[in-house]
Amino acid sequence: MSVGIIMLVHTAFDRAEQVARHWSAAGCPIIVHVDKNVLSGPYNEFVQALSDLPNVRFSKRHRCEWGTWGLVAATQSASRMMLDEFAHVRHVYLASGSCLPLRPVQELIDYLAERPQTDFIESATTSDVPWTIGGFDKERFTLSFPFSWRKNRFMFDKYVSVQRLVRYRRRIPNGIVPHMGSQWWCLTRQTLSAILDDPDRSVYDRYFSKVWIPDESYFQTLSRLYSRQIESRSLTLSKFDYQGKPHIFYDDHLQLLRRSDCFVARKIWPFANRLYDAFLMDPAGAMKRTEPNPGKIDRIFAKAVERRTRGRRGLFMQSRFPVEGRENGLTCAQYSVFQGFSDLFENFEPWLAKVTGTRVHGHLFAPERAEFSDGQTVMNGALSGSATLRDYNPRAFLSSLIWNTRGERQCFQMGPRDEIKDIEWDIAKDPNAQISVISGAWAVALFKSNKNFSDIRQEAARLQQTESKHLDVLRSPWAKARVRIWTMAEFIEAPMEPLQTIIDEIGKQTQFGLAEVPKMSDLTGFGQFLQNLKNQGMHPYLMGDFPVEHRLHEPNQDKPKPYLVR
C-alpha cells in the first residue's frame, strides 16, 4: 500500500524535478502532467531529466489556464493513469510543481496507512463559507462561464451580466449539491475510481466544464457522492489573499513552515534555495520541526490581508493615501484638545501633565510656531515646529504628530488666536479627538494685557467671531469628536466637576478625586472689563452671564443679576 503523487507542472522544471526525485526516493509513484502551453523543447528536456526514475510517468497533456476546465481534465487523465498503472496505490495525492513536502514522505505514508478509508479533501457548500472572492458564490454553479477571465475579461463580465439580466440559471445535474474547497486533495483509490468510472461522468463533466473555477469544485462535489469518510481539510498548506491569489513562500518563511502541521506547502518561490535545501536535502532538518502552530500561520496571513485592505489607521504614507471618507480616521490614537483652559488657569499645562501623565503641548496651531511641550522646536519623527511648514499641510501635521507619538496620549491647547481655520473641521470630524471648550476664556488674556482699550476691543470682536464660528463647527451634525462646551461663567461656578470628568476620560483613575487643582487666574475686575467692552458697543456673549462684580470662587447669590447678553 502506498501513496501516489500527481504533479501538475507548468514552470520551474528544475524544482519540479527536484521534488519528483524526493517523492520517488521514498517509493511514491508519480504521474506528471505538464501544461500543454509548455513548448516541446523544455518539455522533452524535463522528460529526459526524469527518465532515470522507474516510477515516474507523464500523462496526456491538457491546456491549463487558471479558472478553466483544463486543470480538471489534466487531473482526470493523470488520476486515470495512476490508478491503472500503479495497482498498489491506495491514496492519490494531488500536488503541483511548486509544492514542497514539509515533513518526511514516510510520515505521510504512515499517516495515510493509518487512515485507509479517509479522503482528505476540503469540501464545503457555498452557503457555509465566505471564501469566494469577486461575488460569485452560488452563481459560479448556476451561470455559465465560457469566456476566459484572464484573456477575455470584457466578454466574461458582459456574459455574466447578460445572464443575470435574463435570469438564466443552469440546471444542476442529478440534484448534486455543489461543494467547493482547496484544489489540493488526497483521495482514496475507491473514491477516485468511483468518480472517474461514474456512468454519469459525461453529464457531470459537461456541467462542470462551464462552472467558474471547476478545479475547486469538481472533485470536492463528486467525492461527497462516494466517499465513506471525508475529512474536510487539505493536507497541503496553501494560503490565499483577498483577491484569491496564492501567497508565495520565500526563504524567510522557513521557521514559519516548520511550525505547520501540513505535509506539503504551496506555493514555493522557485529560487527559495534555503527552503528547498532545508526540506528536501536534509532529512534530519525536515524532522527538526518545532511544535506545530498552524494558528500562527493563519494569523500572519490574516493580518496581511487586513493591512492590505484596511491599512493602519491614522497613517498617511506613500502607498496608503485614502480619499476623503475612506481614511478610517484621520489619526491613530485618542488625543485631547483644550480650549480656554490655559487662559483661565495659570498653570494648566504643567498641572495637566502631572495629573494625567500625558504629553501636554501649548498651542500647536499658534500663529508664531507650534508650541510643543517643554519648549521643543522639533518633535518625535523630526516634526518641525515651524509655522510655515505646519500650515503648508496642517492635516498632515496633526496626523503625523499623533502617529509619531503612538503609545503616549497627546493633549494640546487651541484657541481663536490660533490658525484653526484649515484644521478645525478635521479635528471636529475626528472620533479620536476629545475637545473641551471654555468659551470666551480668551478674554482673560485681553483683560490682563497692557494694550490700548480700542485695540482690545477690536481684538475681542475678532476673537469672538472666530470662536463663535468654531463652536458652530463643533456643534455641527458632522462633528464626530467628543465635544464638551462650557461658557466661562458656567465653568467658574463649579470648575472641579468638569475637570474631573475630563481627567477620568483620559483614563487616569484618580481614586480620591483630584489631589491638586490648577490655579485659577485672578478675575477680580473681569466683570467690569466685560462691561466696559459692552459700553464700547462690543457685546461679549461667549463667556455666559458674568456679573460685573465677581469675586473668585464666591457664590454671588445676593448680588443683583447682571444684564444678560443672550
Binding site: Y250, D251, W269, F301, V305, S319, G381, S384
Partner: protein, 340 residues
C-alpha cells in the same frame, strides 16, 4: 461634461507622452556608446538604468547592492565625468555604458537619455531607474530578490512599484564624516527624519506629491512648496511606449502612478535610501550652484546650495537611527502590504 473633459485631458496626455518619446528619440545622437554588453541581456532580467556624473565614490557600493538584489544588467549614461567613473564602469562585466557631454538639465535631468535606452532595451523587462545616490530597499529585501518582488507584483496585476526617497544624514556636521568607495554609506549616514512627510494627490497625473524630510525641515522651512519631491516610482514593467515625466516622480500613462491605495488599504512599497549627504556634498554644492543643472529654476535654489556648502548639521534630537527595513515598515514609511 466631466467625462468629456476627462477624455480630452487623457488625449492631451497621450500627446504629451508622444512628445516625450520623440524628445528622447531626438536626443539619441547625444549618446556615444562606450561599452555595449547588451547582448548578455536575457528575457527575464531586471535591468537598471541610470545617468551618472562623477560618482566613482558611490558606484562600487551601488553596483554591489543592486547585484545582490538581482539586477542582471546596468545601462548607464555617463554625463562628462572626470573622476574615473568611466574607467571604473568600463571594467564591470554587467555594465553597458554610454557617454555624453551635453546638458543634464536640457535632457530633463538625464531622463531623455535614459528614455531612449529604455525604448531600445527596456521593453518587456522590469526596469529600475535610479540615481547613483539612491539605494532601493523594500520589505524582505535581504531574503527576497527583485525577481521575487516583480513576479509577485505581476501576479497581482501591478506594473509599477513606488518608493519614498529617504534623505539619510550623519550625526554631526555633514562634511566631517569620511567615506571610502565600496563601504556601506549608511554606516555613517544612519539617521533620517521619521515622520514629517506631507503628501497630496496631483490632479493631473494622479501621482502623490510627497515632500518633507530633512531638507524641508532645514532648508525650505520658509517656502515648503519648493521643498524637493520625495515620491518616486523607480521600478516599472517597461513598455517602449512609456515615459517618465519629471525625474522618476511620475510617468505616463497615468495608471503607472497608482502605486498607492486610495481606499484605506496599504500597497506594498519600498524606500530609496538617499546617500546625497556624504561629506562630498559640501564640496560639490558650490560647484552645483555654478552649474545650475539640477533644478528647472536653479536660481531659486541658491540659498539651499549656500547652506549646504557651509557644512551644516542635519541631525537633531528627534532624528531616527536606521536599524533595518522592519523599522521603516513599522514607522509607516513603507509597507509590506500583503506581501508577507
Amino acid at each position: 461634461m466631466s467625462v468629456l473633459s476627462e477624455a480630452v485631458f487623457a488625449y492631451r496626455l497621450r500627446w504629451k507622452r508622444r512628445r516625450l518619446l520623440f524628445r528622447a528619440f531626438r536626443k539619441r545622437r547625444q549618446l556615444c556608446l562606450i561599452v555595449d554588453r547588451t547582448p548578455q541581456i536575457s528575457a527575464q532580467d531586471v535591468l537598471l538604468f541610470s545617468t551618472v556624473r562623477n560618482e566613482a565614490l558611490r558606484l562600487p557600493f551601488f553596483l554591489d547592492h543592486y547585484r545582490r538584489l538581482g539586477v542582471k544588467h546596468f545601462l548607464i549614461v555617463d554625463n562628462a565625468s572626470d573622476d574615473g567613473t568611466v574607467e571604473f564602469l568600463k571594467e564591470q562585466d554587467d555594465v553597458s555604458l554610454w557617454r555624453t557631454t551635453k546638458s543634464y538639465r536640457l535632457s530633463r535631468f538625464g531622463v531623455d537619455w535614459v528614455t531612449w535606452l529604455q525604448i531600445r532595451f527596456g521593453h518587456g523587462h522590469w526596469c529600475l531607474s535610479v540615481d547613483a545616490d539612491e539605494i532601493l530597499i523594500y520589505p524582505h529585501h535581504q531574503t527576497r530578490s527583485l525577481p521575487a518582488l516583480t513576479n509577485w507584483l505581476e501576479q497581482h496585476g501591478h506594473e509599477s512599484f513606488g518608493a519614498l526617497m529617504l534623505d539619510m544624514y550623519p550625526k554631526g556636521p555633514v562634511g566631517d564624516t569620511t567615506y571610502n568607495p565600496g563601504e556601506n554609506p549608511f554606516d555613517t549616514l544612519s539617521w533620517f527624519d521619521g515622520g514629517n512627510y506631507v503628501m497630496q494627490k496631483k490632479s493631473d497625473l494622479q501621482n502623490l506629491w510627497i515632500q518633507g524630510g530633512v531638507r524641508a525641515r532645514l532648508f525650505f522651512r520658509d517656502r515648503p512648496k519648493r521643498a524637493p519631491t520625495l515620491g518616486k516610482i523607480p521600478l516599472v514593467k517597461w513598455n517602449r511606449r512609456y515615459a517618465y515625466v519629471s525625474s522618476t516622480h511620475s510617468l505616463l500613462p497615468r495608471r503607472l502612478n497608482h502605486v498607492y491605495d486610495a481606499d484605506g488599504g496599504e500597497r506594498t512599497s519600498g524606500i530609496l535610501l538617499h546617500s546625497k549627504f556624504l561629506n562630498s556634498v559640501v564640496m560639490r554644492s558650490s560647484e552645483e550652484k555654478q552649474r545650475a543643472e539640477h533644478f528647472a529654476n536653479s536660481k531659486l535654489y541658491d540659498d539651499y546650495y549656500d547652506a549646504l556648502s557651509q557644512n551644516p548639521t542635519l541631525w537633531c534630537e528627534a532624528s531616527s537611527e536606521l536599524t533595518g527595513w522592519r523599522q521603516l515598515e513599522a514607522m509607516g514609511l513603507m509597507s509590506k502590504g500583503n506581501w508577507v
